[in-house]
Symmetry: C2
Subunit: 250 residues, 2 copies
Amino acid sequence: MQMAGRIYIVGMGPGREEMMTGEALYALEQADVIIGYTVYLNLLPERFRDKELLSTPMRMEEERCRMCFTEAGKGKRVALVCSGDAGIYGMASLMYEIGREYSQTELVMIPGITAASSGAAVLGAPVNHDFCVISLSDLLTPWGKIEQRLKAAAEGDFAIVLYNPSSHKRKDYLRRACDILLAAVEEERVCGYVENIGREGTKAEVCTLRELRNREVNMFTTVFIGNSGSEIINGKLITKRGYQIERDHR
Amino acid sequence: MQMAGRIYIVGMGPGREEMMTGEALYALEQADVIIGYTVYLNLLPERFRDKELLSTPMRMEEERCRMCFTEAGKGKRVALVCSGDAGIYGMASLMYEIGREYSQTELVMIPGITAASSGAAVLGAPVNHDFCVISLSDLLTPWGKIEQRLKAAAEGDFAIVLYNPSSHKRKDYLRRACDILLAAVEEERVCGYVENIGREGTKAEVCTLRELRNREVNMFTTVFIGNSGSEIINGKLITKRGYQIERDHR
């Protein structure tokens, strides 16, 4: 099956138009059809809503990707939208995998602001040194692998960002993750989490790892765990780079 | 010392204006003075260059940060610019640390596209599953800590992004990092690197970890190392999320 054209895989960032890049907006302006999960299509700036919008339900990711190639094959300019960055827990790799079957269609990635950046900006500077990003969703990853990565992240003294910390079916996953970390990391380790980043009702909290273990978070939350040198400064979660501040300036 | 005002800490992304967010551009438009390392000031879109621009040399980061608070104290609207995201190896944490002394000045973080996202977009989808970000610069971090993190990243089977893989004084650091990874990871592990992301002369290469060990990269390079399931697909470096593709679609 040979099809032509080019598909833009667009990272929308957290949601607000002001947090999208110029090239992401340009790709949407140029598109004949915008394809994405319904929740993301609903985040589109008003002026793009009268374009042809196509979607498939959750868990129908492969169909959504194939839809992009089919529409491109009709000669349409296609934009596939993902929240955050399509290359970070988005549709990018699946598009490249399926793209093997559509060798005449070019894929162009347009990066967006991912929750590790946008959530960090709300909390202060929690990932201003080496960090790990781990998803707690075991829909596509065996839980054993997630555990292995949590342990390694703690051993490496990384700051940690947890994506998908909870869902209706995975209510206790953040607690389980905290328990794994608590085997290697002190209870008072500083943490934070942000709900609805860049959308209405943004809510941020800082707490200790012990407290985090008992917090209930929802699926629109991103969790940050500091490294051994992180601190709360004026209510913000700060992971330092190691500059020695000249105290005699005071 | 009590000063007033608000300082915007702006992530400029890789450099091209189209890769900046609307809110980053808005903060620069509103600013009376833009402060940053000279290299970043030179990346500013032309129309901001007639604003008051202030800088300090490399390694004078504390002075640069204090300059922001001093200018804000004069009643000016200040934007501090960093390349990429100011919260990822940028000035964010130092600003919060120094901000302790200037309690009336509010700091507002404006996230930008970091090289883990923008470099990934050039290479394909190298960080589309759990990943670590590690800087190889030992200017502020003991090399032993960097080694510990490289080992942990390999043990956790993370995709890895290396920032600052080289400099004039650290020519062999990427080789040293590869040697540490090669103790745990197969020689044929797929890797890639991007030079001058989002600027003139962008150059991307994919290779194996064994090959990467012998490549010379410069300080404007970001390096990506796949996880155990990563693949090269049509010349792109792809780290899969784990979707099972329905082969009967072929």
